[in-house]
């Protein structure tokens, strides 16, 4: 196999994207100065390069999706510096290294109504000449050490000006040279590199000097590597403004096609046999599960899953829980392509809930008979483990009745990384502070082929499972989820279910599973697989494959009460939550609401007896709406 050649700069902020490419079987990495990287890409000496966005003007390059080097606030390594306020500058020396930063400096100064003369000069020389009414642009690692009376961080200024993230660099490929498998490799490398940022910071400090903690904070809290909808908006805003001012020509943004074709040959299995095995609680193998997922009819699956449900839960009891979903922050650095909820840190709609708001929500929950707080949020770069510990202790002290069902595996990894703790230590500290159980969110599709395409910078399948396994071993229970309909194949959904089943065999820690289709923003009907029938099918397949997970929840929040009632007859034994709010789903346009009376009416009407439960599926005596 021919390796593709990739050029990249050796700046610290590129390390997390390139470190994982060392020894890669698909990608040969060449390190060079920024201008040399761009030149090699233009000349065809390399197939792709990690270069600053202005290089997009040099050819019809395709962007590798999902990964970027950007910031949504202070970036520290792109600054304007001078003795006097920039408002009175009449000349600015531009470091010769980066055209993108030149344009950014011009746009920011233009936004401030300042229009100095721009003179090219090497960084150190420019800085030396930045006296009086003169300023200098300094970029790269040397900007860490700039000492001047006036320093303008251009990342912060851009976000202040536009409310959007600033994208500095991207992997850009010559058209047709990079395959979906190569994109997967680049994404794998990025996931790997982001997981070892602390180590990279230490290594960098050892090589170049300086404080490793400063570098670690820079890599974990300043630079963001996700490239989702807001980052695309940020990139487009930058290109449009630059074109409008004549700083750059107009550019059309294009992406590398990253959809991999299906491959695995399947063993021929009988649909009828697979259905009967599933209904009788016999273990299905991957081929059988895949055949069911791909080909069995809704009603055949439904009847089989209902038989299985009746065996596991004889009688007509259907449980539900009264709990409140609280999304403590919508700030997130992961930039998943499917998410309509997250905002970059500097965005006008970004929030972190105050204690007053939280107290009001929890008081309301308790007043409504709620016993659980489902606390999840974005990956906020400024929140370390102490913030969560304080929060949990406060909740537990004030409302001892509340079960803290909090923090998806993604958030736990994030806390470990921003606080430089091991996974075990992070979980131990959170549990000591009051964490009771872990929600199964962020699983999406537990197959890296899909995961890397829809959520490139989210934890990998192994990482997600590692958190769950560690938590289970410490005695915590958790739930498991699957969000399907993101363009995956049946084999990906089956892989997801089999990975969960394997872990459940080892730990028995999952109390329940729930699935729902991806909900596209602002459309009433999900395209293709995001339909009610696809939901019911997937739910039924899950009941048959997950033979060791006791409970299946119907997702009325995403599908509506009627379809959820049908799910009770096709594998589910639980009606989920009376949910007092759910921001993430409603941000994507779905707004089904039910109170406990309405939940019970739906359960009864469908022929079942409602009963309230807690997170461990223990029934609550006498608790009825």
């Amino acid at each position: 196999m021919r390796k593709i050649r990739a050029a990249a700069v050796s700046f610290l902020n590129a390390w997390p994207l390139t470190a994982g490419l060392e020894g890669s079987e698909r990608v040969e990495l060449v390190l060079a100065e920024p201008s040399r990287c761009a030149a090699m890409l233009e000349a065809g000496e390399v197939d792709l390069a990690l270069v600053s966005v202005a290089a997009l003007t040099k050819g019809e390059y395709e962007i590798v999706p999902g990964i970027a080097i950007g910031a949504d606030g202070p970036v520290q390594t792109v600054v304007l510096a001078g003795e006097q306020s920039p408002a009175i500058w009449d000349e600015v020396f531009l470091d010769t290294a980066s055209r993108t930063s030149h344009v950014l400096a011009k746009l920011v100064l233009d936004g401030m109504g300042v229009h100095p003369k721009f003179t090219p000069a090497p960084a150190l020389e420019g800085l030396a000449r930045a006296k009086g009414t003169k300023g200098a642009l300094v970029i790269g690692d040397r900007a860490f050490d700039v000492r001047a009376s006036h320093v303008l961080d251009l990342g912060r200024e851009w976000t202040h000006l536009t409310g959007l993230p600033m994208i500095f660099a991207l992997w850009m490929a010559r058209p047709g040279t990079v395959s979906p498998a190569d994109v997967q490799e680049l994404t794998r490398a990025a996931q790997h590199g982001l997981g070892i940022r602390t180590e990279l910071a230490r290594k960098f400090a050892a090589q170049k000097g300086g404080d490793p903690e400063k570098y670690r904070r820079y890599l974990t809290r300043r630079i963001r590597y996700g490239f989702g909808p807001y980052e695309l908006q940020g990139l487009e805003a930058f290109l449009e403004r630059a074109a409008a001012k004549g700083f750059l020509p107009k550019i059309q943004v294009r992406f590398v096609d990253d959809r991999a074709p299906a491959v695995r040959p399947r063993r021929a299995v009988s649909l009828d046999t697979a259905l009967q095995k599933g209904a009788d609680g016999e273990r299905l193998d991957a081929d059988e599960a895949e055949r069911l997922d791909a080909e069995a009819s809704l009603l055949d699956l439904g009847v089989a899953a209902d038989l299985r449900r009746r065996a596991l839960h004889p009688g007509r009891r259907v449980t539900y829980i009264v709990s409140r979903n609280v999304n403590y922050t919508n700030v997130c650095t992961t930039a998943c392509h499917f998410c309509a909820f997250y905002r970059p840190r500097g965005h006008a709609e970004a929030y972190v809930l105050s204690r007053e708001e939280l107290a009001r929500k929890i008081d309301e929950t308790v007043a409504l008979g709620g016993i659980e707080l489902l606390l999840q949020g974005g990956l906020h770069p400024d929140l370390g483990v102490e913030w969560y510990e304080d929060l949990f202790r406060w909740v537990k002290a004030k409302w001892p009745v509340i079960n803290l069902h909090a923090l998806s595996p993604e958030e736990i990894w994030h806390i470990a990384r921003t606080s430089d703790l091991s996974l075990d230590a992070t979980i131990d500290r959170l549990v000591a502070a009051g964490l009771d159980s872990i929600p199964g969110g962020g699983a999406e599709i537990l197959d890296d082929e899909v995961r890397r395409r829809i959520a490139p910078l989210k934890s990998s399948t192994d990482e997600w499972l590692t958190v769950m396994e560690a938590a289970h071993r410490k005695g915590l229970r958790s739930t498991a989820t699957m969000m399907f309909g993101v363009g995956e194949e049946p084999r990906h959904r089956v892989n997801h279910l089999l990975r969960l089943r394997d872990l459940q065999d080892r730990t028995g820690g999952f109390t329940a599973f729930t699935c729902w289709p991806f909900q596209p923003a602002n459309t009433r009907l999900a395209p293709g697989d995001g339909s009610a029938q696809a939901y019911l099918r997937t739910n039924a397949v899950s009941r048959l494959v997950l033979d060791n997970v006791p409970n299946l929840q119907a997702s009325w929040v995403t599908m509506g009460g009627g379809v959820a009632q049908a799910a009770l007859h096709m594998g589910c034994n639980d009606f989920g939550q009376v949910m007092i709010e759910e921001n993430v789903v409603s941000a994507a346009g779905t707004t089904f609401r039910m109170d406990s009376e309405e939940v019970e009416r739906h359960i009864r009407d469908a022929g079942f007896e409602p009963a309230r439960r807690n997170m461990k599926y223990e029934l609550l005596e006498g608790a009825r709406a």
């Binding site: 009828d272 055949d300 009433r524 339909s531 029938q533 096709m570 009416r601």
Partner: protein
Amino acid sequence: MTISTLAHRALERDGLGPIRDKVLAGERISDDDALKLFEVADLAALGALANHVREARHGDLTFYNRNVHLNPTNVCVASCKFCSFARKDDQRASDGYTMSLDEAVEKVLSRRPLGITEVHIVSGLHPDLPFEYYTELLSRIRKAWPELAIKAFTAIELNFFAEKFGMTYEQVIRRLMDAGLDTIPGGGAEIFAPRVRRKVCDDKATAEQWLEIHRTAHRLGVKTNATMLYGHIERLDERIDHMRRLRALQDETHGFQVFIPLAFHPEHNMIGKAFPKPTGYDGLRTLAVARLYLDNFDHIKAYWVALGERLVQTALAFGVDDLDGTVLEERIYHMAGSTVPQALSERTLHQLIRAAGRVPAERDSLYRVLKVHEAPVPKMTA
């Protein structure tokens, strides 16, 4: 269209073996059978049975048409307690309206570029409009757009015309046929049982009148639809009684094209507070039982405006073969709190049908297939 081994197992367990045997043999099921199906609380097995009948009749074809609604007035002398649409007069204060003929005709004609094939006209029972308003409305539409099918006036309106203008049902229908009437919609049937009618629509045409009007229309060669408004105060045996009367008339005339159970919508009317909207489960079992009980009806329709897109898509596995149409300008359900869109594009309908593994088929007002839209991708069985 076979029933799987597991479905047989479930049906036997539920004690539905004898009913299944009748269905598979093409025999008629009894009222008691229908009640048992309503009460069995095994939706998957019930669906398997209803789906068998649906696929035996239509395979995967799922019908829809391109239609527009016209409600010329909402002023109504009746006082049905489930209605959110009617107003007592057309004063601005009461939010009532009556379209001029020009306005009403123009509203329909303006839809011409959209490839509409049917207009569905229903109104309030207006105390003052002359009969000529209605005949004129139909003849002007017919003249300006000859190929557009006109489905107009529920039996309640036709009964009102007969009483107010001193004509027989036959005279009313003939006059309207002369003006351009093609078919008659199924509205106003509500629940036939007198107990229910007394309570929710006391001053409306009786069950006997409703059925007599449809009988008359069928005799005159006019095809009609039949509805049932479920999910308010009626009991299950009253739903079955309702379907029994329809099945009996259909045996006599074969003039009904389709049966349409309509979910009661509770907002802005007099009984909504006491009766919440029926659940989706109730909708699915009602459709499935209707498919099994009404063995002489060709089509069972799930009206997406009343049930929502997700539920009607699910219903395609529970005996339903018709989803109504694109439905431009729906007012009646929206005034009762429906939050579905005002219209669905043909593309959205196709997507909804295909994602359920079915094949969309555009039909005309008389259920003749205009075009089968074969799936562009390999289908997934439903």
